[in-house]
């Protein structure tokens, strides 16, 4: 398994390096074989420069204003995109672009621009590392982190005076070594403890592009490149921009889809919950209950008090349901018990309800079980048959919390219930949305009805 993973990683690196080198190798080859002249080369460089700048600018603006994406991630992405844009603008290629307009940048201004390029590289690397740490939950040594940030700041500060003495490459070199150290350290951690994904690979190549752009600011051996280092920064930045755009697009689509799904989910849940509250407190039930309680008080005050307690327990379940999507099973069963006791007060032949509760340490949507009991009361006629009963079971089995509502009544045509019972549809949908639970109803004429609700137990 480990070997396969290593092979996969090496393959990714080779593919990435090949892709990175293709534009430069092909341009060098085209120039060598005379397939590309100076004018064409200029066009390619301008287009690369322009396209990279455009993409990075769009990403920066969109990330800063985006309403959907997680705030921290948006800010980090915007900073990195902005830094790449700054590195592009503050490069040798800008000198070449401006020279095309017959203007000239004074050398001291150009030195200042160079400093921004270096700062942009440092800042972008810090934010790339921050993104890795957050995304892959890397545990860092605090002292090492703080020391590295301090060294980076010192390198940037020291670059300005040291550049004047032509030894600016010392702090640049130190910063480059530090950034390579951190990227390799984080890469190693991520490879060791996490699944590598495409966004990680692409982010590494963005870093390589930025590093390449920085290094190309150092005067190049013209024999190696057969020209000035014109176009190298643009080339690297267009590749970085394309990789960045790829990650950005995937991330944006994914998070937008997730945000949309979450919004739809919450909307649907609120509608179901509102309908439950609207339909569960049936005025008919309430007024009949009050009437029966009034009659009980005439005979027995203590029984009347008990009936009032039962009704208030049932009504309290209603107020609890307004504030929450899930309640403990114990609470739902108490409500069901109160409801059934009240109903039994109203009829001459009581329903025999049994509570076969082996395990009840889990949650269910409020009024979700009562609706099945109501149907059993309405249609099963178990109170009219000998040894008729309704039993509510709750237990754990094979990774599921299971609830069953079983009666040995008259049974019914299962197809009928799909068209008529809104309460049952509502209950099934809430079980599915909130708990990913399945409800199955089976029934046989003159044998009874069985409802089985299986709620997968979530780990952690």
């Amino acid at each position: 398994m480990k070997n396969k993973r290593l092979v996969r990683i090496i393959l990714y690196v080779i593919i990435g390096l090949v892709l990175l080198s293709v534009p430069f190798v092909s341009m060098a080859l085209f120039t060598h074989y005379g397939l590309m002249n100076d004018a064409t080369y200029d066009v390619v460089v301008s287009v690369s420069f322009g396209a990279a700048a455009f993409i990075m600018l769009i990403i920066t603006v969109l990330e800063f204003v985006s309403p959907f994406i997680v705030k921290d991630a948006s800010f980090d992405t915007a900073i990195v995109a902005l830094c790449i844009l700054i590195q592009l603008i503050c490069s040798n290629d800008i000198r070449w672009v401006i020279s095309k307009t017959n203007s000239q940048i004074p050398e001291n201004i150009y030195s200042l621009i160079n400093i921004f390029s270096f700062i942009a590289f440092c800042v972008a690397t810090i934010f790339l590392c921050k993104n890795f740490v957050r995304t892959y939950k890397v545990v860092l040594d605090k002292r090492e982190t703080i020391a590295s940030i301090i060294i980076a700041i010192l390198c940037v500060v020291a670059y300005i005076p040291l550049r004047m003495y032509n030894i600016g490459s010392i702090p640049v070199g130190l910063a480059v070594i530090l950034s390579i150290y951190w990227i390799i350290k984080l890469t190693y951690y991520i490879i060791r403890f996490n699944k590598i994904d495409w966004s990680f690979i692409l982010t590494i190549f963005i870093f390589i592009c930025m590093l390449g752009a920085l290094m190309s600011e150092v005067p190049m051996n013209s024999r190696v490149f057969n020209a000035s280092n014109k176009g190298i920064v643009s080339g690297m930045m267009i590749i970085a921009a394309l990789f960045f755009f790829g990650i950005y697009l995937t991330f944006t689509i994914q998070t937008t889809q997730e945000a949309y799904k979450k919004e739809e989910y919450e909307k649907r849940l609120n509608t179901l919950q509102a309908n439950v509250l609207k339909n569960q407190i049936d005025p008919h039930f309430l007024f009949n209950s009050l009437n029966i309680i009034k009659n009980i008080y005439k005979e027995d005050k203590q029984q009347g008090d008990r009936a009032i307690d039962l009704l208030s327990k049932h009504l309290r379940a209603y107020t609890a349901a307004s504030n929450t999507y899930l309640v403990p099973l114990e609470q739902e069963l108490e409500n069901v018990s109160a409801y059934t006791e009240i109903e039994n007060l109203k009829i001459s032949k009581s329903f025999n309800i049994l509570y076969d509760i082996d395990f009840e340490e889990f949650e269910v949507p409020p009024f979700s079980i009562q609706v099945f009991i109501e149907n059993a009361f309405k249609y099963s006629r178990v109170n009219e048959i000998e040894d008729g009963y309704i039993v509510i079971k709750a237990y754990q089995e094979d990774g599921f919390n299971v609830i069953e509502v079983i009666d040995n009544g008259v049974g019914f045509d299962v197809n009928q219930i799909k068209n008529t019972s809104y309460g049952i549809k509502n209950s099934k949908e809430r079980f599915k949305l909130l708990l990913d639970a399945e409800c199955k109803i089976s029934s046989k004429k003159d044998e009874g009805t069985k409802v089985v609700i299986k709620i997968p137990i979530k780990k952690g």
Binding site: I308, D309, R316, T319, N323, L354, Y355, D356, I357, V391
Partner: protein
């Protein structure tokens, strides 16, 4: 012990009076939502507890609680309310003083337990086992939600703290039922018993998987007193309502005979 009761609805106060009248060692003062009068009374009297409604027109029960606690940091607060509130709805600075939240309509058992807690006393569950079986919590008859759950509790009490297994309970209470049905009936009786004890706020049974046992703290019984040698009149009737009680009655009759002979 002095308590204050605050509710803007005067009839609610009268209802409260009905529930607590006759409670020993209790001096109570009723107020509608007149903050000045309430705070004035509390400044001049050592009030142990305040029963407060939450939603009142002139002052909220929560704000009143804050002021009462500022005046006396040891005062116990009991909210009596019709609305659903949880601990998270209450400011942190008053949470330590909250003894209970009682929902309207007030259940006598809940109020009784709270008054006992304020008085730092414990309620007593009295088991009447000679004759027919009945239970009384502070003199009030306990109503069980089913006859079988009451019978199951009687069996738990007879065992006097020893474990009652499911198999033994089934063999005595449902001897003629087929195995699967009797297990359902047993678990139903256990669930109902747990509900009843929770309602009277007296959880004296240890419910573990397939076993029950009685925690005898704060329980008195004519049967236990007799077993410990106290001079209790035994009329020859023991848990009359239950056939299986004959097994234990034989032992009791033997003890009576033995004591007679030793005398």
């Amino acid at each position: 012990m002095k308590v204050i009761v605050v509710d803007d609805e005067i009839n609610a106060l009268h209802g409260f009076l009905d529930e607590i009248i006759g409670f020993d060692n209790l001096e109570y003062q009723f107020f509608t939502d007149d903050e000045e009068k309430i705070l004035g009374y509390c400044k001049n009297n050592e009030v142990s507890a305040a029963f407060l409604d939450v939603r009142m027109p002139n002052i909220s029960g929560i704000d009143l609680a804050k002021k009462l606690i500022l005046n006396n940091k040891n005062i116990k607060i009991v909210f009596i309310t019709g609305i659903n509130i949880t601990e998270n709805d209450l400011p942190i600075e008053i949470r330590e003083n909250i003894l209970e939240i009682i929902y309207k309509p007030i259940k006598r058992e809940r109020l009784e337990k709270v008054l006992f807690d304020i008085n730092q006393k414990t309620r007593i569950l009295e088991l009447k086992m000679f004759g027919t079986f009945d239970c009384f919590i502070n003199g009030h008859l306990v109503n069980f939600s089913s006859n079988k759950s009451k019978e199951l509790f009687a069996l738990v009490c007879v065992l006097n703290g020893k474990n009652l297994t499911m198999e033994y309970a089934i063999s005595l209470l449902w001897p003629n039922k087929e195995s699967e049905k009797s297990k359902i009936l047993y678990r139903d009786a256990v669930w109902r018993l747990r509900q009843t004890l929770s309602e009277i706020e007296f959880n004296c049974v240890n419910f573990t998987r397939a076993q029950l046992s009685l925690n005898k703290a704060n329980i008195t019984s004519d049967y236990y007193d007799f077993l410990s040698g106290k001079d209790i009149f035994y009329n020859g009737e023991f848990l009359n309502n239950y056939e299986w009680a004959m097994l234990y009655k034989i032992e009791l009759d033997y003890m009576v005979e033995k004591r007679k002979n030793s005398n």
